[in-house]
């Protein structure tokens, strides 16, 4: 019978410990950050945290906002929808006025209704899935562009390069499939043949079977919409079988590790569309910030543009608080929705349309050169 007692003690213990989290004073302005600090996207989450923390530190050094300090409240979404919904519930109980995040589209989606019901302003940072902003949520914004933008730029790029037969490869994640579908429709419309359309399994290492199959479909270019770890291996294995077909990719391949995985010789000549990488951001403010970032985090440079966009989400929130002189969610949302409002962010001027999507053309085309560097292409 001791077991029953153990069970009760367990419950009691859990209640008390869970209860501890709420007994905090609410003096500073609290801004939530929901990021994948653990799980498959942990490296993205770490950079998101570093950037937002540094921005908050800089702001607090200048005296904070409305005479109050800013406090960043971090919750781990684990890169997974269920954990995200718990993280969102948890943030919603901690007196935050707005939340930055998160990276994955399906992860953001699991948290959207929770923030909406709790009247908390949310600015997503890497969630490019179209439908997130098609739900008429009053308090939802994002600093990243949408997949239809990217699909358009990718299709234009392929068209401009003069290819007539394309092989499209995605990885069956929500994001990659969406981008693949979007581009396929656009390419077909402009008379380009899609001779191969299929999905690999993320996390695998051997893609020779796919390459062999693709080769027999005889495309002129491969368009890959998935992530860099798989692409790195594909480029490498493609080189091994001496197949010299050009490859174009989406923004999830924008990561310096791509070249490390593929090797410089295999990565050379690879094109991808993406928002500009941090070092190509031509703004004084950004350069100063990147320098501070390096000073603080042992000379590191943020590798991911998505983490920089988390910084932009933070800046938009603080700008809205400053401009409206309040932390009222309706006033802030109204301010951000106004088309004439422009926040000066790390990736240029940030403005939002009525749906909460970022306005302006963000996508650029990059090419990997022989030294493995990402070179911005002329428009």
């Amino acid at each position: 019978m001791g077991m029953k007692r153990m069970l009760l003690w367990g419950c009691a213990l859990m209640c008390t410990v869970l209860g501890m989290g709420t007994a905090w004073a609410a003096e500073p302005i609290r801004i939530g950050l929901m990021a994948p600090v653990t799980g498959a996207w942990a490296s993205e989450g770490e950079e998101m945290r570093n950037i937002v923390n540094l921005l908050a530190e800089e702001l607090n050094a200048q005296g904070g906002l409305l005479g109050r300090k800013i406090e960043v409240v971090l919750e781990d979404d684990g890169g997974d929808p269920r954990t995200a919904s718990l993280a969102a519930q948890r943030l919603a109980t901690q007196g935050i006025v707005a939340v930055v995040g998160t990276y994955g589209s399906s992860v953001t989606e699991a948290s959207q209704s929770i923030y909406d019901e709790a009247s908390i302003l949310q600015i997503a940072t890497g969630s490019t899935s179209i439908r997130l902003s098609e739900k008429n949520l009053k308090y939802f914004f994002r600093t990243c562009p949408r997949d239809d933008d990217q699909g358009r730029v990718a299709a234009q790029t392929i068209q401009k390069m003069g290819f007539k037969k394309v092989a499209i490869l995605h990885d069956n994640t929500s994001y990659a499939k969406g981008l693949a579908d979007e581009s396929q429709a656009l390419l077909k419309k402009s008379g380009i043949k899609v001779v191969f359309f299929d999905a690999l399994t993320p996390g695998e290492r051997d893609f020779t079977a796919i390459l062999t199959k693709m080769k027999s479909a005889d495309p002129e270019v491969i368009f890959f919409t998935g992530y860099y770890p798989e692409l790195g291996l594909i480029l490498r294995q493609k080189k091994e079988i001496n197949w010299t077909i050009p490859v174009v990719g989406g923004d999830a391949t924008n990561n310096p590790d791509l070249v490390k995985i593929a090797g410089k010789d295999a990565a050379e000549g690879y094109y991808f569309v993406s928002p500009p990488i941090p070092k190509d951001l031509p703004y004084e403010k950004t350069r100063a910030f990147l320098k501070n970032y390096g000073d603080k985090y042992n000379g590191a440079v943020p590798g991911s543009i998505w983490a920089v966009l988390a910084g932009d989400a933070f800046l938009s929130i603080t700008d809205a608080i400053k401009a409206t002189e309040s932390t009222d969610v309706n006033k802030m949302a109204q301010y951000l929705h106004k088309s004439e409002h422009k926040t000066s962010g790390l990736t240029g001027e940030i403005g939002f349309n009525a749906k909460g999507d970022r306005v302006g053309d963000v996508y650029r085309v990059y090419r990997v050169d022989a030294a493995g560097a990402f070179i911005l292409q002329e428009q």
């Binding site: 299929d198 399994t201 290492r205 001496n242 995985i261």
Partner: protein
């Protein structure tokens, strides 16, 4: 037709790796009837240890490429074997007399534990092996482009399988292992030190897993902390397919699984290939409930 043979070689190369991991899986299972879910993570540990030895200690640059490679194999095998034996002592031995599934859950806990140990030490970023340790050239066999390393991986798997089989069948220790596999109590009565034999099995099995991890790291050049899970599941599938507990069965199961995947991807759909592989597995098991080479033993009479 050329495409078919190309896909066949693709499948055999991938299957060779599955087989190599499955060898360790099946060996442990044969003796303890334990599905060692941590095997995949020991494999990942091998890949990471190899990386550390190569980059931080600069093993390769100090003693030259060939000797370096040999030392690397010895060190990684030894260290992962040690980790395996440690795991057996701490997490499996206390459970030897308990319900079988308790040990399986302990193994799952060990899998999470090892995976996260790797993450805490190395971080969650993808790590990349230094280039050019194994030659990245393709050989032309009957008009097919086959990278040399793939042949190497295949041959290594085959050799290790043969060595293991000979060891189990021909040596005294191997006989002891077989005796323990059949009946631990009877083996003990015959004067066999059962604990010691099981310890040895847990040195060999994980050691093989470690070599496989090193090979995957060297060949694909990229390691991440979750890699053990996906390979572990494939290897387990391969071992079952061949008849778990059976050493040539693991080899056969691995190769067949690799080939099914490649052909499934080629002629049906890449996105469905894992489903096809599992479907074939289920059909085979319905026809042969103990796997391809598993002996038909009466359950209990």
């Amino acid at each position: 037709m050329e495409e078919f043979f190309q896909q066949l070689t693709n499948g055999l190369a991938v299957g060779g790796i599955y087989a190599l991991i499955a060898l360790g899986y099946t060996m442990v299972y044969g003796v303890l009837k334990l599905i060692n879910f941590a095997h995949g993570d020991l494999f990942a540990l091998g890949a990471y240890l190899g990386l550390t030895l190569l980059t931080s200690l600069g093993l390769n640059s100090r003693v030259g490429p060939l000797a370096g490679l040999a030392l690397l194999v010895v060190f990684v095998t030894g260290l992962v074997a040690l980790a395996g034996a440690l795991l057996e002592r701490a997490a499996y031995r206390p459970l030897r007399q308990s319900p079988r599934l308790s040990a399986v859950v302990s193994a799952l806990g060990a899998s999470i534990f090892i995976q996260n140990t790797i993450m805490l030490i190395y971080g969650s970023k993808i790590h990349v092996y230094p280039k050019g340790i194994l030659p990245a050239v393709a050989v032309n066999i009957f008009g097919l482009q086959v990278p040399l390393v793939r042949i190497l991986v295949f041959v290594v798997s085959l050799l290790l399988m043969a060595a293991l089989f000979a060891f189990i069948q021909k040596t005294r220790l191997g006989t002891a292992i077989r005796a323990v596999a059949i009946d631990q109590d009877a083996a003990r009565l015959m004067g066999i030190n059962v604990d010691q034999v099981i310890m040895i099995v847990f040195l060999i099995g994980p050691g093989l897993g470690g070599v496989a991890g090193l090979l995957v790291g060297l060949y694909y050049g990229q390691v991440n902390f979750t890699m053990g899970w996906i390979y572990g599941l494939k290897a387990f599938t391969a071992a079952i397919l061949g008849g778990i507990g059976n050493i040539p069965g693991a080899m056969l199961g691995g190769l067949i699984l690799g080939v099914i995947e490649a052909l499934g991807a080629a002629y049906v759909s890449v996105a469905w290939k894992d489903a096809i592989a599992f479907l074939v597995l289920i059909v085979i098991l319905i026809a042969r409930p103990k796997g391809l080479l598993g002996e038909r033993v009466a359950d209990k009479i």
